[in-house]
Structures are given as C-alpha cells and as structure tokens.
C-alpha cells in the first residue's frame, strides 16, 4: 500500500488527477441536478395545493391555469372554514380531542409494555413478543367487522369511544418494537443501582428509564400524532353525525361537491392546506426524532 501513496506535488501536477477532479465535478453536477429535479417533483404539488387555495372560485378552470393566482383570494380560507353547516372550528376541535386522547394513552401503555418486554425475564416472553410482531401483518379489515359489532353491542357507535379507548391497550406493535429496542440498549446497572437505593418499579420506570428513552418517546409521539390525525377508516366507520367528524371526514363533504357543476376545489385545497400545516410544522421541528423512529425498525432490527 505504501507504494501507492501520492505526494502533494503529484496530486497537483499530474494530468491524470486533473481528469479525476473534472470527473468529480461532472458527477457532482449530475447529482445536484437529479436531486433538484426530484425536489421539484416533490414541491410542485405542494405549491399547487397552496396556489389553488388562493385562487378565485370563478377562475379555477381557466386554461391554461396561471402559475400565480391572480387575484390572491385570502378570503377562501374564511369562506371554506364556514362553508359547511358545521364550522371547521368544531372539526378541528374534534380532531385534536381524538388525537390527544389516543396519543397519550398510546405512549403511556406502549412504553410500559416495551419496558416489560425489554428488561424483565418471564415465561413465554419471546413467544408473546413474536405474536405481537406478527399482529403487524394482520390486515385491518380482518378484525374490522367483529370489532365494529363489539362497539355496537356496547352502544358506543357515533361516539368518540371506539377511536380513543382502544389506545389504552397498547395498540401499535411498531411503537412497542421501537421502544423496546431503546430499552434494550440501556445498561443493566442503571436499574440495579436504583433498586439498591430502594426505588420501586414504578419509580425506576418513571424517573430513570423514561427520561433515558426520551428520543424514542418523542419519535412515537410524533408518529402517533400523525397516525391519529390522519386516521380515516376509524371515523368513517364509527361516526355518523356530521358535527362529530374530524377534519379528514369533513374533507369528504367537499369531495362530494365535486360531482356537482361547480366543484369547490379552492375550498378543498384551502382546508387541505390548513389540515396539513400542523403536521408539517410538527415534522419540521421534530424530524430528527421522527426519522429515528421510521428507520429504527429497518436498520436496528
């Protein structure tokens, strides 16, 4: 290997290295061009969403569609907010209500279950864990009808109960899996020291273990928030009265306007933008955790 070492003089002088550096520049140009092209493909639909939301309803079907809306109609947002019989204030409140209840119960129970699977030895642990992982493959529709019958027999259809109470039962095997990976990576001495100091199980969990897995907790918090905010199948099946709908179901009202003569694409895009802003904001602030969350299963597993 030593014979291949290049002296600084050779590096500058030799024509071979010149072509290498030129090659590098060309490869770099291609890389950035491709990446930029990809970014454009990703971003243009986002732009189109915002653009349409600011376009006047009468100018929606102008051809060719202007790239910039003219005039910019900010009123669309206010009009769309109040376009339905129920104001979007209520839809937003519904969404927040369901999302927060489901998310907090999910984080609480999933972290307890993950802690149990990761740090304690008990009979049948590995088999139970395997069963838990295999439930990830079960298509949702298989359990859908009996679960619906269950909630109906409890007379809880058209309430928020089916959308929130299940979260207490550690739904979300992937969250448990992710948290377990984090718990496993902690040294055993952490708990032993606390136990010698006389801390009980819950104190150890709450004061020592949870703070140590905070990045993973934040990751599942973000994933769970996004998941519940975007949950569609649940409200679709369990809610009947329009005023109880979350945002995603309210969009369905606008969607039904599409079959009519004047489709309300501008209202629809305005509310889609509104609905996406909290998620995008959350994503920008928490992306480190989120990306850790989505990649952990693939790379660590």
């Amino acid at each position: 290997m030593a014979t291949q070492a290049i002296t600084p003089k050779e590096m500058i002088g030799s024509p071979k290295n010149l072509t290498v550096s030129r090659q590098k520049t060309i490869v770099n140009i291609i890389t950035y061009t491709l990446l930029g092209l990809g970014a454009a493909i990703v971003l243009v639909p986002f732009y189109w969403m915002v653009r349409t939301s600011l376009t006047a309803g009468t100018r929606l079907f102008v051809f060719p569609p202007p790239f910039f809306p003219d005039p910019i109609v900010w009123r669309n947002y206010i009009d769309a907010w109040n376009a339905l019989q129920v104001s979007f204030t209520r839809f937003t409140a519904n969404t927040l209500f369901v999302t927060i209840l489901a998310m907090s119960a999910e984080i609480f129970t999933c972290s307890l279950v993950a802690y149990g699977f990761a740090r304690f030895r008990f009979p049948g642990r590995d088999i139970l864990f395997l069963i838990m992982l295999s439930t990830m493959m079960l298509p949702g529709v298989v359990t859908l009808v009996p679960t619906f019958i269950l909630w109906r027999s409890l007379k809880l259809i058209d309430t928020y109960d089916p959308l929130t109470l299940g979260a207490w039962f550690a739904w979300g095997p992937s969250y448990i899996f992710l948290l377990r990976q984090f718990f496993l990576s902690l040294p055993k001495e952490v708990e032993e020291a606390a136990r010698i100091d006389g801390a009980n199980l819950f104190q150890i969990y709450w004061h020592i273990m949870l703070p140590l897995v905070k990045p993973a907790l934040l990751a599942i918090a973000v994933l769970s928030f996004i998941g519940n905010w975007n949950n569609f199948m649940g409200p679709l099946i369990y809610l009947n009265s329009g005023e109880k709908y979350p945002l995603i179901m309210a969009l369905k009202f606008f969607e039904q306007s599409l079959s009519k003569e004047a489709p309300l694409f501008h209202y629809m895009m305005a509310m889609t933008t509104m609905m996406s802003i909290p998620l995008l904001a959350l994503y920008f602030f928490m992306q480190r955790n989120l990306i850790e969350g989505i990649t952990a299963g693939a790379v660590k597993g």
């Binding site: 569609p65 298989v142 039962f169 448990i176 606008f254 998620l279 693939a298």
Partner: protein, 361 residues
C-alpha cells in the same frame, strides 16, 4: 338537524370513559402483579407480566377475538339489518361465500387484479427510484438534512389530502399535469389523457400518485441503511481499484439488501391494504375499487358483513402467501452480515477467550 353545540356532551362523555379505562388498565396491572406474587412467582417475572398486561388484553379483545369471530362470520350470511334473536348466532352456511367470490362475483377478480397490479408496478418502481435517490443522498453532498426533509414531506401529508390534491392535478381540462404535458400532446397530435376518469388510465394514475406519496419514507429508510454500510469496505475496494459500478454491485447492493427486504415487506403489506386514497377518488364504474375498498363497501354500504368477512380472509390468505414467498426468497438475494463473517467472529471470540484466560492467570 345538526347540533353544533353537542360537543358539551360529546367530549366529557368520551373523556370520562377514557379516564375510567385508563384507571382500569392500571388496576389490572397491579392485580396481576399481586396475584402472580401470591402464586409464588419471582418479582422479576411478575413485574414483567404485569407490565405487558395492556398489550395482552388488547391482543385478546382487539386481535384474537375479532380474528376468530371474523372467520366464523365468513361462514355465515350475517346482515346486521336482518334482526337476530338475542344471543342467537348467525347460521353457518359453509364455504358458500368463498365459492361465490371465486366463481360468480363480477367485482371480485377485478379488485384482486387491481390490487396486485398496483403492488407489482408501484413497489419495484418505488424501490428502484428510492434506492437511486438514497444513493445520491448518501454521497457526501451538501445539506443532506435539507434534502432529506424535502423528500420526506409528502409522507407527512394525510393520505386523503394527497388523494384530493392529485385528483385536482390530474383534472383533464385544467389540471396541472395536463397543462405541463400539453405541448407534448399537441406535438404528437394526441388527446389529453383523462387520468382517473379513463378506466384504462386509472391504474397508472394511482401508481404515479402513490409514488409521490410513499417515495420519501422508503428513501429515508434506505438512506439510513446505506449510511450503515461500513466505510472501510469502500476504502479497501478503492485501493483494490474497483470502479463505481463494481462497488455498487459488490458492496452497496449486497449490504443494503436487508434494508431493501424490510422495505419490500412493509410496502407490500401496505399496498395490499390500499384504502384511504382510493376512497377519495371516484373512478368510472368499478375501475378504481381496490380489494380493501371493496371489502369496506360490502360490509358497510351493502351490509353484507358475512360476505365481507370472507373477502377479508381471502385478503389475509393473500398477504400471508406473498409474505411467506418473500421470506422464502430471502436466501437468494438478501445478504446478512452473519453468514460470511461468522468465521471471523468465531476467531475473534476465540482470541477474546484466549486473552481472558491469559489475563486471569
């Protein structure tokens, strides 16, 4: 009549139940712990079992019971509108539903075909595309974080929003896609495609929309996988004079196969359960009815819950078959570190033992 003020009742109703169930769960955990201790179990085992109780209960109530019940229902013609006497189970009809689905239902095979074709086209395209993107990002480029943030953005958007947005962009007369492509169409004297409203183009439209929506997730995961490849493999390959292409073939591709495998399995399961987007897009006739959507229609629009359960079990069988197939195929193409390095690991372990025995002396 819509009652906007009903939240005063609605929220406290569920919130009180929510608190009760939460308290009950904690109580169950405590009781489990006490009970197991009383039965003479060690503290560690009793604590562990008590901690996983929420999942155990959830598994029994929301997985195992519905799983068995749905198989039972699939053998009946259960219709919730037809009144049943109290405590009376719907009558068994054998495999009638399954036979009907396979032989006579005119919408069954088209929905299977659409679902499978969607997966068969969008998954390979998506994997190849995101692997290429991830490889570009894995080069030492500036601002990896910013690019990654950008590419993941569509995955954060609600599926319903994605569907509505693309439906608008695919609008035949004044959608963005046809506007951008219109010079191309006039050059070749072609008619503007009608995308979602043309039965022939429904599938490609879904594929294009799906690619945009899921591209980011797979790219981010594959990027993490690429970053995990030990750098020294490339360094030694460069020293040995391996070009970029042979580095890709002999290092990058084999090393990234475990991640590719993971992404393949998850995107396959997701494709088989394609639902939300499809529900927000109305297509002519049944051209856009994916299997999952069809099951939902049968159960909740047609109230044929027995038949829907049979369809759900067919979907389950399909999922299991395909997953098994992919898992079986692993040995042909997925490269695991352990397989080759087990020899060196053995050696390393031997060395370690040797060193320890020397040190203990």
């Amino acid at each position: 009549m819509i009652d906007t003020g009903s939240w005063v009742k609605d929220y406290p109703f569920t919130f009180s139940h929510w608190l009760l169930v939460g308290a009950a769960i904690i109580l169950v955990m405590l009781i489990t712990y006490r009970l197991l201790k009383m039965l003479g179990m060690k503290t560690e085992a009793a604590s562990g079992l008590a901690l996983i109780m929420p999942w155990v209960l959830g598994f029994l109530i929301f997985n195992l019971y519905p799983f068995i019940a749905s198989f039972y229902l699939s053998l009946t013609e259960y219709n919730p509108l037809r009144p049943l006497k109290l405590d009376q189970l719907p009558a068994l009809v054998g495999f009638k539903n399954y036979i009907y689905a396979f032989t006579r239902d005119p919408n069954f095979w088209p929905s299977i075909r659409l679902t499978l074709l969607y997966g068969a086209i969008s998954i390979p395209l998506g994997l190849a595309g995101s692997l290429a993107t991830a490889m570009l990002l894995a080069r030492n480029i500036r601002g990896v974080g910013i690019w990654r943030t950008l590419y993941y953005m569509p995955a954060v958007l609600p599926a319903a929003a994605t569907a509505l947005l693309w439906r608008w962009m695919f609008n035949p007369t004044s959608g963005l896609i046809n506007t951008i492509l219109s010079p191309f169409f006039s050059l070749f004297h072609m008619d503007k495609p009608a995308w979602f409203t043309d039965p022939q183009l429904v599938l490609p439209s879904f594929v294009i929309m799906g690619m945009w929506g899921i591209f980011g997730t797979t790219t981010v995961i594959l990027l993490a996988g690429l970053k995990n490849i030990p750098r020294d493999l490339y360094d030694s390959a460069t020293v040995d004079g391996a070009g970029l292409i042979s580095q890709f073939r002999h290092i990058t591709l084999p090393q990234v196969t475990p991640t590719l495998f993971y992404v393949l399995v998850t995107s396959m399961i997701a494709a088989l359960q394609y639902f939300t987007q499809a529900l927000f897009i109305t297509t002519p006739r049944q051209a856009g009815i994916f299997l999952n959507v069809y099951i939902w229609q049968q159960a909740f629009n047609q109230q044929k819950m027995g038949y829907a359960s049979s369809l759900a079990w067919i979907l389950l069988a399909l999922t299991l078959m395909l997953t098994l197939l992919v898992f079986r195929s692993q040995s042909f193409w997925v490269f695991y570190e352990g397989e080759i390095q087990s020899e060196t690991k053995k050696k390393r372990r031997k060395n370690l033992q040797l060193r320890q025995s020397v040190m203990s002396k």
